[in-house]
């Protein structure tokens, strides 16, 4: 029997998913669950979503044949240019979808969590566009690390609230956003930034991001005459650009899907975010998934040079795709990702986000046939990482 990669009617992907939330969140999540599909399939919703993606975000994002990289690796390497989106990453696909949904639900106030600040910026952006109040929770540590993104959010009218609990990074910002939602159950919508959280968030976010693979298929036909490449690669923090990139390829069994996680200083260094290797099954932020934790079930703080991959879990669908081996999860160290960033800058004139460079770094480790077609999701641009590049490369 063919394995089912998609969600079932209970909100699970195989053993993973569900909605492990306290009763205080039940009405909010249940409202979403019972209404999201109907709303996002309404013609006027679809029309506005598509029009904003086109005229505001700048979609479709190009599929670019990276010729010099192709020559180097001996395969046709295509880059899906999510870095060219407004605000510089794939995150905006999701926030556009969710802000329209929030409007339909009559919500007046938007909250979000952010790590690197990319999702926070993408949320502040759509709130400014729609004139809605915006509160972004961000770990105190990340606020210091990502000052330019904090300034961008503020400029667009968002309130940035430091998360001072726990390790003061992304997972704690997520906790604070959930607490805010508990305390503001009626007028507030929580825009989660990745394919994580209680059902229906992982499914909803992957639907909004699936535009990435939808476009890619069409563009591949134009470029190569076929809609199926040999390989598709993406990086995974929570896993939203990867789910968007894989979405329409999941049932094309001959397309190899590869997801790059952040190994940080090395998978066994104690400073890593390679959840598929280090994680065990459990519950994090409302869904059953795999997460990095102690034997006692306390969540372990991850580490990666890229703030966007610095998350102790992965979305439940990834946990499932890993378990049934539909997607291969690989680990890329800080150094490998930094070298891949430099290589893309030098060879193609594109400075990638360090997150995206984790996917690029995997190319080094693969062997290709001459005619292989490879698509790499370039999930974001490197502007936000300049300070890190300057320090690392002594620029």
């Amino acid at each position: 029997m063919k394995t089912n990669y998609r969600i079932n009617e209970k909100g699970y992907y195989g053993d993973f998913g569900g909605a492990y939330i306290p009763e205080m969140l039940y009405p909010n999540v249940e409202e979403l669950r019972s209404k999201y599909l109907e709303i996002i399939n309404q013609p006027d919703f679809k029309a506005e979503f598509e029009s904003l993606l086109k005229d505001y975000v700048g979609r479709p994002s190009p599929l670019f044949l990276a010729q010099r990289l192709s020559d180097k690796y001996g395969a046709k390497i295509y880059l899906k240019r999510e870095d060219l989106n407004h605000t510089g990453a794939h995150k905006i696909n999701n926030t556009i979808g969710q802000i329209l949904l929030a409007e339909k639900l009559g919500k007046k106030r938007i909250i979000a969590e952010t790590g690197a600040g990319q999702h926070g910026v993408a949320t502040a952006t759509v709130c400014a566009l729609k004139g809605l109040e915006c509160v972004v929770y961000m770990g105190e540590v990340d606020i210091e690390r990502q000052a330019p993104n904090v300034a961008r959010m503020k400029m667009m009218g968002a309130k940035v609230v430091p998360a001072t609990s726990g390790s003061k990074t992304l997972k704690d910002a997520t906790n604070e956003a959930l607490r805010d939602w508990i305390n503001n159950p009626v007028d507030t919508h929580y825009i989660i930034g990745s394919v994580v959280g209680p059902h229906p968030y992982p499914e909803m976010v992957s639907l909004f991001q699936s535009v990435i693979s939808e476009e890619t298929k069409k563009q591949l036909v134009e470029h190569t005459g076929k809609d199926q490449p040999n390989y598709v690669l993406a990086c995974v923090g929570g896993g939203s650009n990867a789910m968007g990139m894989f979405y329409h390829f999941l049932d094309d069994e001959n397309v190899k899907l590869i997801a790059a996680e952040a190994a940080g200083l090395g998978v066994n260094s104690g400073h890593s975010a390679a959840t598929s290797v280090l994680g065990k099954e459990g519950v994090l932020h409302g869904s059953r998934t795999i997460l990095m934790q102690t034997d006692d079930g306390q969540v372990v703080e991850p580490y990666s040079i890229s703030a966007g991959l610095d998350y102790p879990g992965i979305g439940p669908q990834h946990a499932h795709l890993n378990k049934v081996k539909r997607v291969e999860y690989v680990s890329i160290t800080d150094d490998e990702a930094m070298q891949a960033s430099l290589l893309l800058a030098k060879m193609e004139g594109i400075i990638p986000a360090i997150e995206s460079a984790h996917a690029l770094a995997q190319l080094e480790k693969m062997t290709f046939q001459k005619d292989d077609v490879v698509v790499v999701c370039l999930s974001g641009r490197g502007d936000k990482d300049l300070a890190t590049f300057m320090k690392y490369f002594n620029l």
Binding site: G18, P22, Y26, P185, G282, Q298
Partner: protein, 259 residues
């Protein structure tokens, strides 16, 4: 019948429960606090097992959880400490915490060790009804553990009925939709919600929690329910004090209004 259901069959009003975090303010505090609370007149106890990411809790209980973890508290350690529970404490005891540590320990192991220690029930706010019913309910019943669910002002009547049918102990009525430690919502709307739930004539007794901190809020809760739970205010009282045990009698007698 366990100690908890026995308590409810004998006492119908002004029931006082205290929540505290195991391993806080010091690792060896767990049973000492339980003893002191029983002596001071608490009717039953909720002992929290700490979790690194307690989303339903406000800053005070977050802090106590983190300190407890830093002190070395784990479920293994807690069950070890609880081996002596029933030599020292006779009032009902519930364990309260988040689902992830419980899953790592193994739900079966958890229930077995809880029952062996003489624990009477569990409260796991982020365990969903559906999973509880399908996967874990039989395990709780087998080990004689009452399973407690929360109800908020936003919980629908249909869902309250469902929760009532799955409960065997009491229903934990939240004083508002909020994280712990927010102060009491005194609005008329909230009174209406209490009245509404009471009028449903449920099988389980009602205990109000979240925001109960003193005599006034305790008395108000008792107008609508069989009793109330104090958490944050108690954790604050025992926090960062060398002689934390000596503050317990006064804290309890103030709430009960007996002085």
């Amino acid at each position: 019948m366990n100690r908890l259901t026995k308590l409810f069959s004998e006492k119908k009003e002004n029931i006082l429960s205290i929540y505290y975090t195991a391993g806080y303010p010091e690792i060896g505090a767990t049973l000492k606090i339980a003893q002191a609370l029983e002596k001071a007149g608490a009717d039953f106890l909720e002992i929290g097992f700490p979790y690194s990411d307690p989303v339903a809790d406000g800053p005070v209980i977050q802090h106590s959880s983190q300190v407890a973890i830093d002190n070395g508290m784990t479920l293994k350690m807690l069950f070890n400490q609880l081996k002596d529970l029933r030599q020292q404490v006779s009032i009902p005891v519930l364990l309260m915490g988040y689902v992830n540590p419980m899953l790592q320990y193994g739900v079966q192991n958890f229930c077995r060790d809880a029952a062996e220690a003489g624990v009477d029930g569990i409260i796991v706010p982020d365990m969903p009804l559906y999973e509880c019913e399908e996967l874990y309910k039989d395990e709780f019943i087998k080990h004689g553990l009452s399973n407690i669910f929360l109800v908020t002002p936003q919980t629908s009547e249909e869902r309250i009925r469902k929760i009532d049918s799955l409960s065997n102990g009491f229903i934990y009525l939240l004083s508002s939709s909020a994280t712990t430690g927010k102060g009491l919502n005194q609005s008329e709307e909230i009174s209406k919600y209490y009245e509404r739930v009471r009028a449903m004539d449920l099988n389980n007794p009602l205990i109000i929690g979240f925001g109960i901190s003193d005599k006034v809020s305790f008395e108000r809760a008792n107008k609508f329910a069989n009793g109330a739970i104090v958490g944050t205010a108690f954790v604050k009282t025992i926090g960062n004090k060398e002689d934390y045990l000596s503050h317990i009698p006064e804290f309890i007698s103030k709430i009960k209004g007996s002085n």
